[in-house]
């Protein structure tokens, strides 16, 4: 048979492939490696992964993440390392050291110097001490902690209220929507800062007897009134945003499909609408944090924020004004920390918007 095949003369015009020119090894199955070479499509990505990839390419956003992580780490670890408390007055050998007043960074008071000469080991005052002999570095760390906590919690409160209100208004539509949005319009046109100041003064006075001897008393009245003020005033823009998103998403076919197979409104909101407007919500929450920190520091600066002796960056800056001429560093440090936090959150928010907002994609 083989001979006969060889004898076969190929028609010059035949398109049949001449198999004798190939070796059998060339007809082996392709290895995994060779298959991979043929892959034209890149790995399929999710919306989140795609956004993260974009975010990682944005140097400013990544830098602000690093700065924020460092600040958070310092706030958490710092007070454990430094052996002073935020309201603790410096004492040497168990006795209050009155000479440790308004020390410059990395200096010792007379009594401390004596103790060191006698062979004691003391922790340095990295940023000096304040007018009440308290370690300033620890106070700044706690102040940063308070400011960050206020920013985060206020944003979460705003997020929850705005999300609920906006999704109900947007989903219900009709007259319910009209009335709910009129209320939003009115709250929106209230001058926020004045109302914040006024409400925090009012609440501080009226809440104090209410929360006495409860768990909340530990937080301080000012802090709670601050949160309440945020809860009352700042949710409106979030509610507007969520409502607007829902109104556009509601018109999509998949919502119609879900409704036609009998899905309940709550399920449609949870499963179909919220995930689709999630990116916009996350971005505006990220941008809410710095504005909350701004407001808190503004109020603390006016002496209406957190309760003394608990420090906050704003109240530290305010306290530094009295000794501005002699101890300018006391103003500079809290000011720099506020600016760093706000700047980082702003840049991160901008980066998130560029990475996750589908409308900006080019």
């Amino acid at each position: 048979m083989a001979d006969k095949n060889n004898d076969f003369k190929k028609n010059p015009f035949s398109l049949q492939v001449d198999l004798s020119r190939f070796s059998p090894s060339q007809f082996d199955l392709a290895t995994e490696e060779e298959k991979a070479q043929q892959e034209v499509m890149s790995e399929s990505t999710t919306f989140f992964k795609d956004g993260m990839r974009r975010l990682k390419k944005n140097p400013l956003a990544m830098m602000s993440i690093v700065v924020l992580v460092l600040i958070v780490l310092a706030c958490v670890v710092g007070p454990m390392v430094v052996p002073y408390g935020y309201e603790e007055m410096i004492s040497v050998n168990g006795r209050r050291d009155k000479t440790a007043k308004n020390l410059m960074p990395f200096t010792w008071s007379k009594n401390e110097q004596k103790a060191i000469d006698e062979g004691q080991k003391l922790f340095p005052h990295i940023l000096g001490t304040d007018e009440q002999c308290r370690d300033y570095f620890v106070r700044i760390l706690y102040g940063t902690r308070v400011s960050l906590a206020v920013g985060l919690f206020a944003s979460i409160i705003v997020l929850i209220i705005g999300l609920l209100y906006g999704s109900v208004a947007g989903y219900a539509g009709g007259r319910v929507d009209l009335i709910m949005m009129r209320i939003v319009d009115i709250i929106y046109s209230l001058p926020d800062m004045l109302m914040v100041i006024l409400l925090s003064v009012i609440m501080k006075e009226t809440l104090a007897p209410l929360i006495q001897n409860t768990v909340l008393a530990g937080l301080g009245v000012n802090m709670i009134s601050l949160f309440l003020v945020f809860a009352l005033l700042y949710w409106v823009s979030m509610a507007r945003l969520v409502r607007g998103q829902i109104l556009t998403i509601k018109e999509n076919e998949y919502i119609l499909a879900a409704r036609s197979i009998g899905a309940k409104p709550a399920r449609i909101i949870r499963q179909h609408i919220i995930p689709n407007c999630l990116s916009v919500i996350i971005i505006s929450t990220a941008l809410q944090v710095p504005s909350a920190i701004f407001t808190e520091s503004f109020l603390s600066f006016l002496g209406m924020g957190v309760q003394a002796p608990m420090p906050s960056l704003g109240s530290l800056a305010n306290a530094a004004r009295s000794g501005l001429q002699s101890y300018p560093h006391k103003l500079v440090f809290p000011a720099v920390v506020i600016c760093l936090i706000v700047l980082s959150f702003n840049l991160l928010g901008d980066g998130l918007r560029d990475a996750f907002d589908p409308k900006l994609r080019r």
Binding site: S189, S297, F301, M304, A317, I338, L343
Partner: protein
Amino acid sequence: MAKYVVKRILLAIVTVFIICAITFFGMNAIPGGPFDSEKAPSPEVKAVLMERYNLDKPVIVQFGLYLKNLAHGDFGVSLKTGRDIMKTISESFAVSAKLGGMAAAVALACGIVFGSIAALNRNKWPDRLIVFLSTLATAVPSFVLATLLLLVFCIQLGWFPVFSTDSQNYVLPVIALSLYPMAYTTRLTKTSMLDALGQDYVRTARAKGVAPVKVIFKHGLRNALIPVITYAGPMIAYILTGSLVVENIFTIGGLGSKFVTGITNRDYPMVMATTIFLATLMVVMNLICDLVYKLVDPRITFD
């Protein structure tokens, strides 16, 4: 058009009324009355005083009386100084309006110029510098900036007096107040200018040989400024609230410092009067800005 204007005016009136109600009932909810200080008068005197200031009537009646007096421009009397609040407000508002007006003018003028420069030099070094600086400026709270300016220029360099009642040291307060709105105006002008220059009519104008300067000013800038008008309302609100601390720091006796000292002194009628006055001012300014915005651009429809 008329329907929209009427609707907006009604909404503004409702807002002002709500502000009055919140301030009034809020202040009344605070325990303690104006005559419960340490030097408390005898019960008889107190009763007379309560009757004199209508404090013996139910809160809702007091509110009605307060509104009636308010409509006549009567804010009552300060508890600390005993002076007529309306007089105090009109005096201190003159100072605040001067400071705020200068700050607003500086913010708008510089913001529009910087924004246009950034847009016309897109992705070149002037653009990058302006964007960098404006991002930085939005992260500095006004009170921090004001205190730092005071520290550097008044104390360290001694260029300006730390305390003076003349008008010559308005330079630093104006800078402190105008930096944030300036940065925002810059960013806003830049984006809307880029948007305007990308329009078809600009290409047409260039194609038919209109002088480049004329294209930039007449076709570009005039259209780019329309969104800036909408920012004027929030900007006035920012400047008014910002002046609360800036006036306090630079010891300028404006409305803001009256408000802050009113709060620290627990001078409730003063706080109430200043809040109502400032809030009404902001609401009215917002209304005017919105209406002007719609009037300037005939493409915007009323709905």
